[in-house]
């Protein structure tokens, strides 16, 4: 966490203030990505075979679009892009710890190697 050491006066983001036009453009972008996401999940992936590469393309594509939407909402709608870096710091600190820790938990259950999805009997 690098905090500006000096005592600074609040500025309420005056100056680099985003406009409503930017927000509307962002919303359109998010709507388009959401449409692609849904379409992506409706693609006939099974008909194209069940290779690992196809599976990674299906799931990886969805996860990438999800991460993109998350990032765009946080940066633009939540103003992280226009605000002081300390806010980005504390928030993504939590996001990163959550992602790393819970991925580790799921790994110990062999979730990514098939064990987690198997019925017990």
């Amino acid at each position: 966490m690098s905090v500006d050491a000096n005592t600074v006066t609040l500025d309420h983001g005056a100056g680099a203030h985003p406009t409503d036009k930017l927000f509307i453009k962002t919303a359109v972008l998010l709507a388009v990505v959401t449409a692609v996401e849904v379409a992506w999940s409706y693609l006939p992936w099974q008909d194209w075979g069940d290779s690992r590469a196809l599976y990674f393309a299906e799931v990886g594509g969805l996860l990438a679009m999800m991460a993109f939407k998350f990032f765009v909402v946080a940066s633009v709608f939540m103003h992280l892009k226009f605000d002081r870096k300390i806010l980005t710091g504390v928030f993504y600190f939590g996001v990163v710890i959550a992602v790393v820790v819970y991925l580790a938990v799921l790994s110990t259950f062999h979730f990514f190697t098939g064990g987690g999805s198997v019925l017990p009997h």
Binding site: M1, V3, A5, T7, I86, V90, F93, G94, I97, A98, V100, V101, A104, V105, S107, T108, F109, H110, L119, P120, H121
Partner: protein, 667 residues
Amino acid sequence: MATTDGTLALGPGVDAPVRPMGVFARPGSTPGWRGWITTVDHKRIGIMYGAAALFFFLIGGVEALLIRLQLAAPEGKVLSADLYNQVYTMHGTTMIFLVVMPIGASFMNYLLPLQVGARDVAFPRMNALSFWVFLAGGIVLNSAWLLGGGADGGWFNYAPNNGVMFSPTHGIDFWNMGLIITGISSLVGAVNLIVTVLNLRAPGMTLMRMPVFVWMSLVTQFMLLFAIPVLTSAQFLLLFDRLFGARFFDVSQGADPLLWQHLFWIFGHPEVYIMILPAFGLISEMIPVFARKPIFGYPFMVFSGIAIGFMGWGVWAHHMFASGMGPISVAAFSVATMFIAVPTGVKILNWLATMWGGKLRFDTPLLYSVGLVTMFTIGGLSGVTHAVSPADTQQTDTYYIVAHFHYVLFGGALFGFVGGWYFWWPKVFGYKLSEFHGKVNFWILMVGFNLTFGPMHILGLQGMPRRTYTYRDNYGFNFWNLVATIGAVIIGISFLYFFWIIWKSWKDAKAANAVLSGDPWDARGLEWMIPCPAPAHNFDVTPTVTRLDDFWHRKYAEDESGRLIRVAETADVSMKGDGTGVHLPSPSYWPIVLASGLPFIGWGLIFNLWFCLLGGLIVITGIYGWVMEPADDPEAGHGHEDDHPSDSDDSSAAAEVAAPEEAALVD
């Protein structure tokens, strides 16, 4: 000395009349008990945290003595097997959540604003809320004793043993509700103290000029911030299972009990550092004072604390080596656990190097600090042996583990806290605790502690299992168990002695009727610049900081040969305690109102949902009262920044700078 000017210097303000708004008037400064329940002063809240923790310490201590009496001799008859399960579970839960954590919170509440040079915490009302919610949680947890018996599954309450089938009494429900409520308190406190440290530092107090205690508290609060919700989510799953028939830990339907273990220890291991880091911070403040040297390797001290904060997230599964996670997981967590010993070792070496070559003054706080360093090192070394997973599979669930964690939590955290009490007592209450009795008390505690927990290493290696209510005569456990029980009684006596010392010192001080200087130890931190006891407004003017240990450097400088020379009399660089014109946040009824609804929700979920309705109404009343009551600024509602109707609070920074503006308006 730039104490009287600076950009945050206060102009002469006026004690503004509170403008009432319907029923939502804020209480004025009331004396007596009403002043305490409506207070938003971080110092009073710190004192209340400490007092409540000491009360729960008595309960947890009695539970500990019951355990030791039961185990003093083979085939003990003091407790039944069932009651023994409840007593050790409640002992662990009480000591961790209602003693060690709140004592840490007590020190942080009292000291953080003083050490960063602030008027109060960032959200004074939320600070009061976090104390009252903590107390509510403690009451719910302990109300189990009166309403059908305590939890009986160990402080971790592993699944599926925590299910209704295996633990049919309501004990675990009380445990669940109590800890969810104290979790809310920790979360509120964490947000508040993090914002305080990041936002309310005095001019010039850069991050790398903050006292080590402030740094360790910041790391602790970040760990709490991220660890508490993990426990809360696990406890919600358990609550749904036990009270509403969900299937999260129902193995017959394909659930995996290891999910509980993982979630619990993801919280549980950061929790270990949450308990010890405040004590590390305290002795990092005390040792330099009594060695009359700056802390050795300040940046290393800070970065090792941060490193512990990060690495503490990657070691939780070493509590689960015996659970069959598979070799890759075990190996990874084993290595990570060995690594986390490194930053801890850095700290120990830094304390030793601080004392090395110093003019050591062995006053009571230093004795306890050295006690922490030595005892924690023993506990740390046995901890590294658990990191080696083959060794751990032999040690796990034996008394060796019990010995280990008492050395780090009692020998570590509690020794630091008791030392801290001796050190900061004059700042808080205006009189010193007896040095002579303090030293005697230290040695009694030291002997009792080692007699109690030292033999547990041997018992554990002999194979004595934890959590078993008795043992047979011919197992070879008799002698060391008796020694441990004698030690426990000595610990009990040493704490009764401590309470007597408090009373005796208070009486002597009252008889002597002397005024204590603000800086009785010739200390280093900003909190020693103000009188003892600390006045309600903290600093007369906000100090401007130019270096680490600023107060010390105002008193002393070094000559060419590096010797200390005094450059100013303490009285000349201290503040007089004159609070004229300082505008403080007004007290509020709503924190205690809001908190008092939570136990009813807890009991209601267990017994009858109508109680939940009552509790919910109280909570909602509290929230709306909170939002609607006037801010302490009399010009509230006229477009001032600090009239936020959000659920947060007015900042003391706002209060600080509001004062001159008001003065201007009135003039």
